[in-house]
C-alpha cells in the first residue's frame, strides 16, 4: 500500500541545470509534506516542507510545489550543484487528524539524484 509514491528511482542532471523530483500521494488526509535528503550511512536531513494550504514554498535554491487536486508535489533545485547528489525522500503527515501532531511520517521510496559535472 504505497500512499506516497516516487516513481523515478533515479535522475541524472547536469550541474547548473534544474533538477525536478516528483512525488504523488493517495491519502487525502495528508496535510503536510516534507522533503528529506539522505547521504549513504547518514540519517535523512530535512530540506523543505509545505502545508496543504499553500501551493508553493521556496527556500534558496529549493522550491516545493503542491497540486492538491492532482495529489502531486515536486521539488525543484536550481541551479543543481554536485553536493546535491543524494537520495531524496518525499514524506507526508496527517497530523491534523492525529490529535496532537504525534503521527509518524509516511515516506516514498526515494529518488537518487545524480548531478553530473
Amino acid at each position: 500500500d504505497q500512499q506516497v509514491k516516487q516513481n523515478s528511482p533515479s535522475l541524472s542532471v547536469q550541474e547548473g541545470r534544474i533538477s525536478i523530483l516528483n512525488c504523488d500521494y493517495t491519502n487525502s488526509m495528508f496535510d503536510y509534506f516534507l522533503w528529506y535528503k539522505k547521504y549513504p550511512a547518514e540519517g535523512p536531513t530535512f530540506l523543505i516542507s509545505i502545508s496543504s494550504i499553500k501551493d508553493k514554498n521556496e527556500d534558496g535554491r529549493f522550491t516545493v510545489f503542491l497540486n492538491k487536486s492532482a495529489k502531486h508535489l515536486s521539488l525543484h533545485i536550481v541551479p543543481s550543484q554536485p553536493g546535491d547528489s543524494a537520495v531524496y525522500f518525499c514524506a507526508a503527515s496527517a497530523s491534523r487528524y492525529s490529535g496532537g501532531g504525534a503521527d509518524g511520517l509516511t515516506f516514498g521510496k526515494g529518488t537518487h539524484l545524480i548531478i553530473q559535472p
Binding site: 503536510y32 528529506y36 502545508s51 503521527d103 509518524g104 521510496k109
Partner: protein
C-alpha cells in the same frame, strides 16, 4: 546546531537476543519517533512518543518492541527477541512541538541479526 545522536552506530546480535538501541533527541523537543529502513526499502514509521507515553504505533511495532525515556534525555528502542527480519537501519527522530511538523533524524543504528 543541535542534533539527534544515536548509539551504537552498528549492532550485531544473534537471533533471539534482546537489543536496546539508544537515542538522544534534540534537548528541547517534545515528540520522539523511531523509524526503520530495511536495505533497499523505504523508511517506515514504527512508533511516536509524547508526554512519556506512546502516541501512535504502526503494525510493525508489535509486542516484541518497546520504547522508553528512562532519564529525561535518552530515548530507547528495545527489541525483546530479535529475528532475522529485524535487520535494518533504525532511525530516531524528534520534533519540537505541536506547532511544527519537521522531524529531525539521527544518523541511525545498523542492526544486523545473525
Amino acid at each position: 546546531e543541535p542534533e539527534v545522536t544515536q548509539t551504537p552506530s552498528h549492532q550485531v546480535t544473534q537471533m533471539g537476543q534482546e537489543v536496546i538501541l539508544r537515542c538522544v533527541p534534540i534537548s528541547n523537543h517534545l515528540y520522539f519517533y523511531w523509524y526503520r529502513q530495511i536495505l533497499g526499502q523505504k523508511v517506515e514509521f514504527l512508533v511516536s512518543f509524547y508526554n512519556n507515553e506512546i502516541s501512535e504505533k504502526s503494525e510493525i511495532f508489535d509486542d516484541q518492541f518497546s520504547v522508553e525515556r528512562p532519564d529525561g534525555s535518552n530515548f530507547t528502542l528495545k527489541i525483546r527477541s530479535t529475528k532475522l527480519e529485524d535487520s535494518a537501519m533504525y532511525f530516531c527522530a524528534s520534533k519540537g512541538d505541536t506547532q511544527t511538523y519537521e522531524q529531525y533524524f539521527g544518523p541511525g543504528t545498523r542492526l544486523t541479526v545473525t
